[in-house]
Point group: C2
């Protein structure tokens, strides 16, 4: 009997909007056969699982067509999914965006493709991907924030994802930064997410215009203020709109307080920020670094780089594959 050497890992990143799948060489190198499709969770869990399985099969086939070899050369599948989830059982406990409850995602995929699989939180995977191959590849301890519809977070300590005692660590979006502040959709007041998520940035921008601020934002949406999104704000920032820039400076103040809190608690070597907000570039990062230095302990602030993500589209897939590799081999 010959044992086929393993050469590849499949990474899967399932989000509320899109699914991305790709293949990583086990011994390092670039992501191959990457593909993205809409998740369409309203079509039901079996549909989504079937879509993911087909994407995995297609990606594996593409890699074998280009590089030759044999299906047995795939070691397995690393899956990232919104949480909360139970890594041990491979079950998604409750994901409002996808409508899943106690859903055995890992084993459904694993059985369908006939390969072992791991499951971890999507924000953890994205942070791990940035640590492994992205903006954080030179540090051993970092925290990742993804600013999108919500604010996701991941914590990598000494090169390992830190999960806490019930797989719930890294929920940075609901950190209180203003006790009696803006109401968050979680029901509390003053969560970071209520200030610096994409919808929160858009809402703050609209509020200011409704109070009379002058801005090209209104023109960009032909006066339909309800159409202003965070992306509209970033576009106006890049076009040097003074008001949009002010909205970004405020975003930097809120985000800076949250990041300073993380730095004071964990003293990481880097904070990596992902999401559309990074499109604002220095309009965000310059005031953000000022606010962090103002609020964080000096020695901790000096030890911490604040960086935009380097793998905005693929960190989740790469990190998910990394989680599988780490579980199988003990290191990436």
């Amino acid at each position: 009997m010959t044992v086929t050497a393993k050469r590849w890992i499949v990474g899967v990143d399932i989000g509320g909007t899109n699914v991305t799948v790709g293949v990583l060489p086990l011994d390092g190198g670039e992501l191959l056969a990457s593909r993205t499709l809409p998740t369409e969770p309203h079509r039901g869990a079996p549909f989504v699982v079937d879509r993911v399985v087909r994407m995995i099969e297609d990606a594996m086939r593409e890699v074998l067509e280009v590089h030759g070899g044999d299906r047995r050369e795939f070691a397995g599948v690393g899956i990232g999914s919104p949480g909360p989830l139970n890594r041990k059982t491979g079950t998604v406990i409750n994901t409002p965006n996808l409508g899943w409850r106690n859903f055995p995602l890992r084993d459904l995929i694993s059985n369908a493709v006939g390969l072992p699989a791991t499951l971890d939180n999507d924000a953890n995977c994205a942070t791990y991907g940035e640590w492994w191959m992205g903006a954080g590849r030179d540090v051993d301890t970092l925290v990742g924030l993804t600013l999108g519809t919500g604010i996701g977070g991941g914590v990598v300590l000494h090169g390992e994802i830190f999960h806490g005692v019930s797989d719930a660590a890294g929920e940075i979006g609901h950190m209180t930064i203003d006790l009696t502040g803006r109401r968050c959709k979680c029901g509390n007041y003053g969560c970071l997410e209520a200030y610096a998520s994409g919808p929160a940035i858009a809402a703050r921008a609209v509020e200011g215009i409704e109070r009379g601020a002058e801005s090209m934002l209104a023109e960009l949406v032909d006066g339909h203020l309800e159409r202003i999104t965070a992306a509209t704000v970033y576009e106006a920032v890049v076009r040097e709109d003074a008001y949009a820039n002010e909205v970004m400076r405020e975003t930097a103040t809120f985000l800076g307080a949250g990041i300073a809190n993380i730095i004071n608690i964990l003293n990481p070597g880097a904070i990596v920020i992902a999401g559309g907000v990074t499109r604002a570039g220095d309009h965000l990062f310059v005031p953000l670094r000022v606010e962090v230095r103002r609020r964080a302990f000096r020695s901790a602030a000096e030890a911490c780089q604040i960086l935009p993500a380097a793998l905005p589209e693929t960190a989740g897939v790469i990190g998910a594959a990394g989680v599988f590799k780490k579980e199988l081999f003990g290191s990436v």
Copy 2:
């Protein structure tokens, strides 16, 4: 040549007010020969070091008198000191309370007593002591908060003190919980310490009385409101003073937001609270647990016990000895 088996470790806890020294049996058991003297930092660093060295010598002598044996049976000394400090060089970088800058504390003590020594942050040591032998001995991941003149913090993950990349992790007191809130002595606004340290609790109590609140607090200090300390507030709470109880409930709200932030980031198995504030008992802990459940992620809040410290006088000494044992033997 015979090698003498090691039986004891000395623990040293240096604070701005007091120094405590004791001896722990290497193979476990209770703290022996514990003694406390005022630090008297105004008498200068050499005085403090000399006092610590004499206390160590006295404690070692007492243990040998009671238990017999030989000085060579002492493995070494674990020292806890206010930071920031550099564990590798054993140097205290800058401690305003003690007036030390770049002070080679570890080696001065080590050389004077002729034993190897380790140095770690006092709040880290206190948290490690609670994890090893105190309130947190059944969990592997916990965060400790000491509410005193300031708010100190320590983070123990999987049974190890987490130091971060520059020995600055665990600075929980200066977490922003209210962006535009109370001014903190650090210069920022809305730090947890500005609401829940001893002086902050006293200040908030006085402010309410000045605004007209009725309370026995005024009588307890014969009308000299400037004499109200946090201890006065705890005394009035225990005596069922309604206003003092309200001050504690507010303290629980502030502290609860800070603790919920820690729980959302780290998902620990326990939060251990030390300091005089624990004298308020259920008047603090009941509303505190309510606030934490309100603000923290449910699965993370459910996984986390919120406990008063079990070793209020000795956690620092025990933890400092534990740090030495861990460094020498790889585990405690």
